[in-house]
Structure formats: structure tokens, C-alpha cells
Amino acid sequence: MWRRLFATVPAFRAQKAPCRSFKSSRRSDKDVFEEVEDQFRAFRKKAVKAMPGSDWSPFELTPGLPPERADVVIIGGGVVGWSIAYWIKRKERTRGALRVVVVEKDPTYSQASTVLSCGGIRQQFSLKENILLSLESADFLRNINKHLWVTNEDPVDLQFNHSGYLFLASEKSAHVMEENYSTQRYAGAKVVLLSPSQLKERFPWMNTEGVALASLGLENEGWFDPWSLLNAFRRKALSMGVYQCFGEVTGFRYSTQIAEVAEGDFVDFRRIKCVNVRMPNSLEYQPVECPVVVNAAGANSGKIAAMLGIGLGPEESVSGIPFPVEPRKRFAYVVHCPDGPGLDTPFLIDYSGVYLRREGLGGNYIAGMSPEETEEPDISNLDVDHEFFQEKVWHHLAHRIPAFEKLKVSSAWAGFYDYNTFDQNGILGLHPLVANMYFATGFSGHGLQQSPAVGRAIAELILDRGYKTIDLSAFGIKRIIKKKPILERNIV
């Protein structure tokens, strides 16, 4: 009977009637318990925002604002600035005793001298202080993971190529090189002098015509990755509690004491009370009250010094002497030469001024040259002048290394030197007219290689009252005021 009933309705059986389910929500693959747990999870996430441990606050604070009060404000987040921050934190005897704030204008570091550097480190200077700074820094870099490793993070890899520097001297400057050699050996650098024949034997790809003497660094010289060093310092300093702030220093609040000198003139002594830090892309600024300011702003140090009136006084007075650091543009060209010198290529510096180093393992090299004083490139931008390579650099390069007659420029970039127009050496220490601003700038191209030791020196100045490891009083600002430059006797 049932079969007959169903047999009369074949059409209905073929087509199922549309059937609505009783649930109003969508069908999900999870079962009831998982759904309940999901809801609990969402609730807990919302509740966390209201709990005391969260950083929700009823006042809308701009994110990234620096603290209102700090102990040391370091202007400039390059390798020198972060090195100083690290060393101050390392030398404070109680944890959390000092609040250090590093203010950096550009979070992308697009124009920072540190990351645009070729990354070389050498001890072949003529000034004992420079040699010692580089030696200490090389020692730091060789043991970098003892200093800058953070628990649970990857160890630091600087890609330090210990290939050494090779300076070439002509007849005219060979005696300077010999004197420098004895200074360097006395200070502890591992350098060796080579005659042209020894040079040819060691580096057969070189054309030794015109070379009277060469000096080669055997240890602690070479090149490394500046970005890795910057990030290593930054990561370690942040883990030690340094505050990082992205903003631009637009001015200072300072108090002035007017003193009368012997001749009856009046001198303004300034003491910085607050640093005004302006937030990026905004008019909002935060005055950070601090007792100590460190100017590690690199190419922009002169601008920061001018905000305090250094250089803006009457011409014959001390305050009329401007701070002599200004940006100078230098180019680096990456060239590809398949027949070029191999792995043993040192950082070659020719007496004509051209320099070259190996980059990587694929036949690429980085070359460059210091331009003449009268032909300084325009500093308003970081555009590369390829004509400079074609006309100046290539000629000397090809003369020195014949294989480079056939090469291809794969890319190029430009970076600023924080150029000390007075004597091209670093300026460290306090300015006589500003009571509490320490300067650590003006390294004119060798800031990166001296940054670990410079950081320690400034930390010693701030916390220990004077230099303890290397005496860098020769690099003080006094020499600029007394107009007694200490020049490097380079052969370049």
C-alpha cells in the first residue's frame, strides 16, 4: 500500500521541496563548544583593553611622543648616537638610573650618513688618537656578540671582511707614509710597508707605476655592514631601556648667564633647559626637560649648534666662531668587472684620491673619489653625478688596475659626510659657551669606524667626569676656538 502511494508521486520525489533549516545563523564547521570558546576569546580580547595593564587612556596622547623629562637627550639616531646611548646604559651603576632618549628625524634613515657609508675601518691614520679610536672599535667589532647580543635574539653578524686597507704613496709623499707608519706601529696597529716589487708580488693585478711605497693593514682593518652595526646598537640599547623617539629637534629652551670678560666685553653662557622635539608631519612639539644633551646629529650638527647661537655672535668673539661641521656629498659607485682582482683585494686607496673595495663574491666593487675642494657637489639633494665617475674616477682606476678598463657601473648612491671644515677630524666634548651640550660629530667620513670607541668616550665624559680609556682632549672644541687645527697628514 505504501509503495503504491509513493508510486503515484514520482515528480515530487524527483524534485526536493525547498527546505529551510531551523537555525538562523550560517552553518559553520565548528561544533558548539568551539563556538563558545571563540566567543570567550573575543570577549577576553575586548576586556584586555579595559584592564589596568593596558595602555588605553582617557586622554588622547599622540603616539610616539617623547617623555616630558629625560636625563640625557641624544640628538641623532645614527651609529654614533646609538653607540653613546648603549655605552651610557652600560656604564650606569644602578639599572634604570638614567633615562636616555634618542631623537631621530628620519625613521627610514634615507639620508643618514651611517647607512650610506662604504663601511670601511682602518687604523692607518697619522694622529695617535684616531689610531687608538679605530683599534678599540675594531676590538669591539670583533667581539661584538660579547657586547651587543640580546638574549633570545639572533647573534649579530656584521659581515666584517678583514681584508685590510692598502694605501699607495708616490715619491712626493713616501716620507709622510713612513712617519705615519712608525706612529701607527707605536700605537699598536698591525701595519706593514711594501715596496713596489713586493706590492707587485702580492697583488699581481695591480699596475705599480708611480708607486714609491705602500702600506697594508694586516689585522683589524677591512669593511663591514653599517646597517647591521646600527641595528645591533639600537636593539641592545632598546633592550637596556633607552627611549627612542622619531621627531625633529626644532629648538631649545635655554637660560642665559651674561658674564663680563677682562676686556669689558659681555659673553653669553647658555644652559639648555629643554629640547623641543617636533613630531613628524605635525606641528605638535614636546619640550623634553633634560640636564644633558648630546649632539650626534652628523651632517646636521651645524644646524643644531646654530639653534643655540653658536656662530651668531659678533665676529671677533668666541660666539662668532660658527660650529664648523657641514654636510658634504660623496658618491659611491658599484661597478661590475668580471676580470677584476679576486678575494684578496684590500680596500685600495690610491695617491690620486680614488678608492676601491670588493663588494660581495660576484665580481662587484665599490669605487669612489674625494672631489677637489673647489668642485664640491651640491648638497641640497642626494642625486648622483655619473659624469664624475666617467671623467675622474674611471681614469685613475683603470690606470691603477688594468682589468678595470672594461667595467660596467651597475648602480651608485650618494651620502653626506659630516664634514669638519676646520680640520676634518672629530669634535668631542663640551662647548665653552653651552654648559651642557656634548658634541660627538664632525668625523668627516670616519665616524662609523670610530663609533664604538667614541660612544664609550662620551659616556665617560658624562658619567666619569673625564676620559678614562683613551684621552681625546685633543679633539675638544678648544682647538677650533684657538684656531689650531690638528690635521691628518694623509697622503691623499
Binding site: E68, A97, L98, P291, V292, L430, A435, N436, R465
Partner: protein, 460 residues
Amino acid sequence: MLKVLIPTIMLFPTIWLSSSKWLWTTTTMNSFLIAFISLTWLKWTSDTGWNASNSYMAADPLSTPLLVLTCWLLPLMILASQNHINSEPVNRQRMYITLLASLQTFMIMAFGATKIIMFYIMFEATLIPTLIIITRWGNQAERLNAGTYFLFYTLAGSLPLLVALLLLQQSTGTLSMLVLQYSDPLLLNSWGHKIWWAGCLIAFLVKMPLYGMHLWLPKAHVEAPVAGSMILAAVLLKLGGYGMMRMMVMLDPLSKQLAYPFIILALWGVIMTGLVCLRQTDLKSLIAYSSVGHMGLVAGGILIQTPWGFTGAIILMIAHGLTSSALFCLANTSYERTHSRTMILARGLQMVLPLATVWWFIANLANLALPPLPNLMGELMIITALFNWSPWTIIITGMGTLITANYSLYMFLTSQRGSIPEHITNLSPSHTREHLLMTLHLIPIILLMLKPELMWGWCN
């Protein structure tokens, strides 16, 4: 009483109606006048102790020293704030001085109150101007946190006190100290009475502060401007001690057992805060923690309820008030010049500010209870009373004294001795105002050494 209270209230029109050129001069002079008039309270004319012109406000040997301290402190606070408030618009300066004067008024009424409920209302009322001073004129973003801790710790402790006072009114019919001191001992034999005992005292223990409930104090002291720190350290903490002394009269015999944990906490706090002081890097924080330690001794002295304990407590309260306020003023002179409270960055100051070093030296010697200063007298009486109560406390109090000496010397040596960092070699020299301020703090301590009967409380 009224001859001091009315001029204090009339300070308000003085502040708002003075011209801006004479604002600080007139307020300072007027508050000095009030301070000198308040010294007349020190002459006790009646043998029973209470100097009462009416039945609502009176002064007795317990409250007179604290009243004089309060009145003495207002001109000192105004002197100390003159420099850092100067840069603000005039009306804000007037507001600041009004808050200080209102604190003075509330505290005169608190210490002079005979009705305990009046004391309670004034106790609570002092919270508001202090909160405004901390959160409006403090230096950093952390001051909001500090204000919250300060307000809510004290409020949480004092709500039970209100209930306890109402219960007391219900059971005895009066809340006047003049009457209650002669009433029969209350029958306190149930659990409810034990909780009532705790309710009476917790507010004052939090205010003192007792070691376990002291978290608000370092925050409030560090974030407050100098006048706020001075009034907090010198007088507001003593409100707690004074309240405890008044309430203990009617809390017998429960106190004999129930006071044990609090005495132990107080004594333990002396050692712990002393050790914390040795590790502090912030100067004001160090002085704040030392306040906790000293007041722990005071709390111990009050809770054992012996005459020497009370006497030692009140002497230590007065001496500590003046010393702590002096130390905060000195820390402020260093802060105004170097803009840092960190001890590492402002050290070796003897080379730059030699006379200030003398004040630092005397203030630190007072802090470590050097004989013959009254700080030692107070501490010694409390230690002796505690030893009599239980010989074992000598270990804790002895260690506490040693550690106190340790951190006081550490504070002096770090801030004054040693080589001076190069960035503070040219600080502006000390102002006469600062020397005057320190003299006015330290001369009373030295004079009190010569006539301590003024602060002995009931032991005459």
C-alpha cells in the same frame, strides 16, 4: 585660636587683591606674621592642658607643636616656590598660593579640632588642595598616576574611619575629645569591636604611612612640586600620627593584642625602606623613602601606648617635619639648576655651591639623628620604649638606625663630594632666598634642642 585662624582665612583676599608686583612679598610677610603669632600658643596657661577659648577648637600640649609647625611652614613654602612659579601667569600664581593657604587653614582646623568628626572632615579636606597641587604643577606625566594613588589610598582608608566615628557617636553620644578622654572605657569584647578598632586606625596608618600601605608616598612626593613635597612631608604625614594618638585613648584594651601586626610592620618598614634608600637613584625618591622609615618608628612608638612612646613620637614628628622639608628644599635647589633629580648627574656640588653644602650637611646629620638634635631625642625615646615593651625590638631598631645613618651619608657624599661632572661646573650661585629658607628650617631644630619641653606632649 581665632587670632591665628582669622588672619589665615583673610590671606585669601590678600592673595587675590594684591597687585602682581607685591603678591609674593605681601603673602610671605603676612604668613610670617601669622607664624609668629602662632608662637604664642606655646605658652600653656592651664594645667589641664587644653587651651580652649570655646568648646569647638582648642590646643593642648599634643596639638600645639603641630599647630606651630603648620603655621611656620606656610611662609617657607611660599619662599620655596617663588622661583619656579614665577614663569606662570599671575592668576595661576594666585591660585597656587591660595591652595597653600587653604591647606594651612584646613590643618589649623584639623589640629585644633576638639570634635573628632571635625578632625575627620579637615583630614579629608586636605586631600583636595594637595591633589590639585600634585596633578597641576607636578613635573612629569607620572603625576597623574601619583595623584590617583595618593587620593585613593587615603580615601579607601578613611571611609571605614567615618563609619567607625559614627558608631562611636552612637554608642557614647559624643565625639568631643574633651569629653571622651574622661569617659569610662568602652566594653569592647566582640569581633565587631575588633573591626571597629581597625576601622578607627587604618586611615591614619595609611596616612603615616605604615610600611605595607606606603606605595602612594614615594610617588606623591617625587611628582609634587617643592611646596607640595614640603607640606606632604612636614605636616600631612603628621595628621596620621596625631589622629592615631587621639584615637588610641578610647581604643583600650583591644590595642594590647591587635596592635601587634602593625607594630611589626612598622618596624620592618624601618629596615626595608632604609635598604631601598641605599639603592635609589632619584634624590627626591630617596628622601621620600626615608620619610616612610622615620614615620614607621613614630607609628611603632604610638601603638605601644606608653608615655615615653607618645613623647618620642611627637618629638620625632616635629623634628622629622622640619628636617624632611629642609631636605626637599635642598633637592629643589639642585633640581632648579640642573633640571635633573638623578643623583649621578648632579654630584660633587660642594665645588660649585659651598654654602649649600653646609645646609646639606646639617640637614643630613639631622636626618641620621645626630645627638644632640631633637631627631635623636625622639628616636631614642621610641627605641627605649619599644625595648621596654619587648627586648627583641632592639635588634630591628638598632639595625634601622645603622641603615639610616648609612643612607643619609650616602645622600650627602653622592650629592656633595666627589668630582663634579663637567656639564654642571657653571651653575648659578645660591640665592639669598635659598639660604634664608634653609636657615628658617634649621634654626628651629637647633632652638628646640635647647628647650625640648615645648614639644614633649603630656610629659611635663
